[in-house]
C-alpha cells in the first residue's frame, strides 16, 4: 500500500462525548486532516495550492462505518488513499486504526473543485493548469 499516506494522531479529550468515546463526527474531521496530509506528502499544500488560488475542494458526499470505539489519549493512524480523480472531482478512502492495528472506522469522501465565493464548479485543468499538472501525478489506489 505504498500509495497511501499515514497520519498519526492522538485522540483529544474534546473529541469525545458523554458516552466516553470519540464523538462520531470527529472521524470526519480526521479524514480532512489525513486528506490534507495525503496532498502535502505529494507536494500539494492545500492552503497555498488551492485556498490561496481561490479554489476550494468542497465535500459532496461522506460515508463512515464505525467498527471499534476509541477514547481520549488513544494513539491512532488514519490512512488516506486517492481512489478517483478528474478535472472536476476527487474521491478519497480512509481507514482509522488503533495502536493494536485494529480497524476502528472506514470511510469515503467525494469532492468537487469550486471557485471560492461563488462555489461554482471549475474545470481544474482550465482554471489552474499548473495545479492540475501536480494532481495528475498523484498515486491512485484501487477502490478496494
Amino acid at each position: 500500500m505504498t500509495t497511501a499516506v499515514e497520519t498519526k494522531l492522538e485522540v483529544r479529550w474534546g473529541e469525545c462525548d458523554p458516552a466516553g468515546i470519540v464523538y462520531h463526527p470527529a472521524y470526519i474531521d480526521w479524514f480532512s486532516v489525513a486528506r490534507m496530509h495525503f496532498l502535502s506528502a505529494y507536494g500539494v499544500h492545500y492552503m497555498e495550492s488551492f485556498h490561496d488560488g481561490r479554489i476550494q475542494v468542497v465535500v459532496t458526499d461522506v460515508t463512515c462505518k464505525y467498527v471499534k470505539t476509541l477514547r481520549a489519549e488513544d494513539q491512532i493512524v488514519v490512512v488516506a488513499r486517492l481512489v478517483e480523480i478528474s478535472r472536476a472531482r476527487m474521491k478519497f478512502a480512509y481507514e482509522v486504526f488503533d495502536d493494536s492495528g485494529a480497524t476502528c472506522a472506514k470511510g469515503y469522501t467525494r469532492h468537487a473543485f469550486v471557485e471560492h465565493g461563488t462555489m461554482r464548479p471549475v474545470n481544474l485543468q482550465r482554471t489552474a493548469p499548473e495545479l492540475w499538472e501536480k494532481l495528475t501525478v498523484l498515486p491512485l489506489s484501487p477502490e478496494e
Copy 2:
C-alpha cells in the same frame, strides 16, 4: 410527512470553515441534535431515558450527501425520521433545508444499543423493557 420531527437551527460562525461555508462534519452534528429532538418529541429524552440508564445509542454508520452550501446566520430546518428499529438497532434519515425550502443535505445514521462502559450490544427489550415499550410506538417512516 407527519411522522417527521423538524428542528430549527441557525448556522453558527464556528460551524463554518475558511471556504466561508459550513464545515461538512457540522451537518453530522446537526443530525444528532435532530435525532434527540425526534426522540424527545415522542417523550423519550435521551439523557434520562438512555444515558442515565447506562445505555448508549452509538452510531455504526453515517452517510451525508451535500447539495447546497450554507453559511453563518443562515436559518435552517433539519428534518429527522425514524426508518428502522429493532431490539438492537435503529436507523434515522435526515434532510437539511434552507429558508427557501431548498434541500442542502440528506443523510442517514445507523445505531446500535450498547451498555455504557463496556460498549457491548444489548437487547433493549430485555435490558430496559419500559424504555423499549416507549420506542415501539415511535412512528416509522418509509426509507423513501
Copy 3:
C-alpha cells in the same frame, strides 16, 4: 437590563465531554452566538455588515469563569451585553443561566476591527462609516 440580548439554546450532546458535562470551550462558542444575536437584534447582521464588507471582528481576549456544570439537553440562556466600544475595539460581557435561573458561567470577550485577509486593524469610522453609524447607537451596559 433592557440593553442585554438573550439567546436561548439547548445544550448539544456533541458539546459535552467524557466527564458528562459541557466541554469548557463550548461556552466560548456560545458567546459568539450570543454576540451575533446581540448585534442582529439591533439591525447589524454580522455576515452582511462585517464579513461581506471584508471587515472581521477578531477576538483579542477571552475570559470565562465556570460556576455550575451543564449537560446535554439542558435549556440555557446566554445573555450578552456590550460594555465598551470605540472606532477600533469592542468588549462584550456574557452570562450563561440554566433553566432554574442559576448562573452557570460568566465571561468577557474583547475584539478588534480588522481588514479581512491582511488582518490589519481598521478605524471603523473611516473604513465603513455607515456601519460605524449603526454601531454608535448600540446600547452600552456598565461593566458591572
Copy 4:
C-alpha cells in the same frame, strides 16, 4: 524553562473560521491537549489516573490573550506549565508559538478536582492518595 512541556500541533482546517484564521475557542482546546501532555510527560495519564478512577479535573476559569493569527496547516508549539497546585486545585499556564517562534496566544486555566457524576469537590490526598503522591512531584513554574 525545563519544567515546561511542549506539544507540537498542526492547525486543522476545521479549527478555522470564515475569517480564514483559527477560531478562537480552538486555542482553549489546544490548552487541554497540552495540559494532558504535561501530565503524561510526568507519568500521569489522565484517562487512567483520573477518569478511570472517577475523578475529573474540571475547569473553573480560563483566560486567553490572542496576539497573532494562525491559519490551517500552520505548525505550532503549545507550551504548558503548572503554576499552582493544592489538594483541591491546579493552575496551568500556556503559550502558543508559530514556527518562527512568535507568540500567538497566552493563557491560563484553573481547575478543581471533583468526583465524576456528582461533580463534588474532592481532597485529592484523601480520595486518591497514590495519585496525589504523583502530583506532588510535578515541576512547578513561577506564574511568569
